[in-house]
Symmetry: C2
Amino acid sequence: MKVKVGVSNRHVHLTDEDIKVLFGSIKKSHDLSQPGMFACDNYVSIKTDKNIIDKVRVVGPSRNYTQIEISKTDAYFLGLNPPVRESGDLSFSEVVTLIGPNGSIKTNGCIIADRHIHITYEDLKKYNLKDSLYVKISGVKEGIIKVNLKPSDKATLELHLDTDDANAFLLKNGDLVEIINRGEENEENDYRW
Amino acid sequence: MKVKVGVSNRHVHLTDEDIKVLFGSIKKSHDLSQPGMFACDNYVSIKTDKNIIDKVRVVGPSRNYTQIEISKTDAYFLGLNPPVRESGDLSFSEVVTLIGPNGSIKTNGCIIADRHIHITYEDLKKYNLKDSLYVKISGVKEGIIKVNLKPSDKATLELHLDTDDANAFLLKNGDLVEIINRGEENEENDYRW
């Protein structure tokens, strides 16, 4: 079973309230692969005491929490130590300042997104999958990574990795990687290439 | 069997001739873990048509080739597509301009270093190791990576990773990771966590 890779560059999800402060309103640029999600023609700067990263894209639609997703490489640059989290889990997330054209906010919500596969509940059941599984990456920098499953009613089957994971394995958008087991919690599990 | 991680940030190795053009001479800052290797108090900028990265450290002693080791993340920033190579193999390496305080040179030699373990010939024989092996990384972003072995007469046993690999697996200098097999080329090989 193969799954397509989607590489997530650093980006932010915003509440309606934070959108208002930073931009007034947001404007859709183009649809993303996951149903209902879209990239916006709106960008923030992420500022910390140590550094600033400009031109970080807003991903819509608005959410009921503001979340800033960066890589570990970004985290070192910004002087942060964000936890690796599933989207929406902002416990112990880092605090940053977001600067938009209309204003700025200081907010928690900065995380490193976990490696996850978007999948429908239907496929989860069909393929008898659990919470996580292992994916094999071939090529000159080969390896196996553990990946969480993120089921929803509507989803395009896709493995989302951040730029650190993608660059470590020389992966790019649309590459195919192989699911090598179904994540059974079994000490005797074999990992065959 | 465990092995210590050494994270290699971007750096350059230089010929005597290139040292002369860029700096006149180099000055040792401190010893590195591999016998005879040292970090210098000398830095270059790496320049391409697209971008520039400043403050890239020189690693001594001089070599009979000039080699620029960057990460895939750096490569995107610089607009390059360097190959993944063992140190010293500069076939199809990228061309960059190195700028020092005394002068600049345009040279090939820009690569992404392969994941490698420094090991003595003695240990290679003792542990019955081959050209490569697999290393397990534990933690919140767990996985297995294939790693080349780089034997020499004198070596400190250490796994060298670039910043992309280190950041993808949340590894830092001095972390311990586990060798899970000895790299036998065997289709039936098992990978047990």
